[in-house]
Amino acid sequence: MTPDMFFLLASILFSIGLVGLVSRKNLFVLYMSIELMLSSVSLLLATLSKVLDDTSGSVMALLMIGVIAAEAAVFLAMIIHLYRENRTIDSDTFHTLSQGENNA
């Protein structure tokens, strides 16, 4: 078992997160993609911690979990709010701020 595998995994996870973020309209998926990206950084940090023989990485990974939680709170609150106001979780329906709409 080499760190490379972990690295590969972390890279792929981060990329998957990005892909999900860009290609999906569902706000939940967006949210989870971001969580996935952050989690993959966590994984990366933990791996690095082990590779470098340094505890800091793990601590950072731990703190990252806290950050993830904080983001989750705001994000979920936002989804609830948006759903309540607009009855949809489709990110594409929110486009009243586009250039075209404001320069009629």
């Binding site: 971001i34 950072m60 936002m78 586009s98």
Partner: protein, 494 residues
């Protein structure tokens, strides 16, 4: 030890204020009262910062406990003061706005103070994770603030965009941190600086890539093209006080960490980014002016133009990479200049909104000079400053930026900068034209003397004084004073 506490006191005051306001949020106090409380906390903090400015016997706060995560230098102090002042201005100028818009509640002030705390932390952070968390504090609070007008679709939409995109790019900051950690074995900026100095540019690719990812986050936050698309929408959707806060204060906060990173820690490898930054700068300059030029809402125009201003700052940033001496103070000065001018412009817009409850389009400004001659005069001053017209502080800002570009041999960038500055004249002057060139159907209105208007007047005076001011009047820093501050801040950054 006591003095350590003293050094911590400004930030502690802010946090304390945030907590107090959070607790008072549901009390029966009116918004004006809460505003007063928030401002008094900020004022206290500002006074503490002033009194502590300059005499730093220690470099790091609680070094025994915190290690080198919290740096104490003039650079950070000056940024602190700017943030605090920015927050105070935002709160005071928008006092009317809060009163006239019912959706504000007590938590608003708590969030403002939280985000301010995050920014201050950001300027003091000497460790990447701390910086990240600080940035997150600032960002999360601002996310909530942007969506504060909840019954408004636009506001919610802006918040959604900001959260999604902000979190997305925030992840890159952390990714970069992880890579740097992997490369250096520590996230302390001291260690990183040592590591960078000890290695040549060729054998630290991982650190460079990590730093680039961090830069990506920063580019996003300042709205550089192609990470710019949120700017116009979010500025538009957010309530005026928040837009003002973001445009003036938050943007500076991002530069606080950016300058610390790229001026000190990554200084030896800065040249790596030159071409990248140049490309981004060119895109930003043009993209920004493209966005600004055909907006009909003034707020969106200002948002677009703020992208252009980021472009100017990027010019200086890439000049730093090429070894320009004047670039760093130039950035600092420009930040001050832009801070005052943009805050003033948004302040007037918010004032108008609080009076008449409307988003101002260009057309709505027709006859404004006749209805409100003083407001129009001040708006013109801010517009001129943003356009870089001489005799305003904005001109000097641009002057320094372009000089730095010339110094570093980036003639093309300087030329493009001047070209976009020229284009910007169009959309700024268009507003002046709207205000002055059309008659008004209504009579002249009384100039309301209250805290908001007085502050706007003062800022207009500072804009002019900062452009032509000399040492004629002592203690009121003219251009020289601001430049001294900028140089001092930069020189402490070691």
């Amino acid at each position: 030890m006591i003095e350590q506490f003293l050094y911590a006191s400004p930030m502690a005051t802010v946090v304390l204020g945030a907590l107090v306001l959070m607790l008072l949020a549901n009390s029966t106090l009116t918004l004006s009262r809460l505003n007063l409380i928030a401002v008094s906390f900020l004022g206290l903090s500002l006074i503490l910062q002033f009194s502590l400015y300059g005499d730093k016997s220690t470099a790091f706060l609680f070094e025994t406990i915190f290690g080198d995560t919290f740096i104490l230098d003039d650079f950070a102090s000056i940024f602190d003061m700017m943030f605090t002042a920015g927050a105070m201005l935002t709160l005071l100028i928008n006092n009317d706005y809060f009163k006239s818009h019912t959706y504000f509640s007590g938590e608003y002030f708590a969030l403002m103070l939280f985000s301010l705390f995050g920014m201050m932390m950001l300027s003091h952070a000497h460790e990447l994770l701390t910086a990240f968390i600080a940035l997150e504090i600032a960002s999360l609070s601002v996310y909530a603030l942007v969506g504060y007008h909840k019954s408004n679709k636009v506001s919610s939409e802006a918040m959604m965009k900001y959260i999604v995109l902000g979190s997305m790019t925030g992840a890159f900051f952390m990714l970069g941190t992880a890579l740097i950690y992997g490369s250096v074995g520590s996230t302390s900026l001291t260690e990183i600086a040592n590591y960078v100095n000890g290695n040549s540019l060729d054998n630290i690719p991982m650190l460079i890539i990590g730093a680039t990812f961090i830069m990506l986050t920063i580019l996003f936050k300042i709205g550089a093209v192609p990470f710019h698309s949120w700017v116009v929408d979010v500025y538009h959707g957010a309530p005026y006080p928040i837009t003002m806060y973001m445009a003036s204060t938050f943007k500076i906060a991002v530069f606080a960490i950016a300058l610390r990173l790229y001026l000190v820690d990554f200084a030896p490898i800065n040249s790596f980014w030159t071409e990248l930054l140049q490309a981004v700068t060119i895109l930003t300059l043009f993209g920004g002016s493209w966005l600004a030029i055909n907006q009909s809402l003034v707020k969106r125009m200002l948002a677009g133009s703020s992208i252009v201003h980021s472009g100017y700052l990027l010019i200086a940033l890439s000049s730093i990479g090429l070894g320009s001496k004047v670039a760093a103070p130039a950035i600092m000065f420009y930040l001050i200049a832009y801070f005052i001018s943009a805050a003033g412009a948004f302040g007037i817009l918010s004032f108008i909104d609080s009076q008449s409850k409307r988003q101002m389009k260009y057309e709505d400004f027709k006859g404004f000079a006749q209805r409100r001659p003083y407001m129009a005069l001040m708006m013109s001053i801010f517009m001129l400053s943003l356009a870089g017209f001489p005799s305003t502080i904005g001109f000097l800002g641009k002057f320094y930026i372009f000089t730095s570009a010339i110094e570093s041999g980036q003639i093309l960038l300087a030329g493009l900068g001047i070209l976009t500055a020229f284009i910007s004249v169009y959309y700024y002057f268009k507003l002046i034209a709207m205000m002055y060139f059309y008659p008004s159907e209504e009579e002249q209105k009384v100039f309301p003397v209250n805290i908001s208007t007085i502050l706007i007047v003062m800022m207009a005076l500072i804009v002019v004084w900062g452009g032509i001011g000399t040492t004629l009047i002592p203690y009121i820093p003219g251009a020289d004073g601001f430049m001294e501050i900028a140089i001092e801040a930069m020189s402490s950054l070691r």
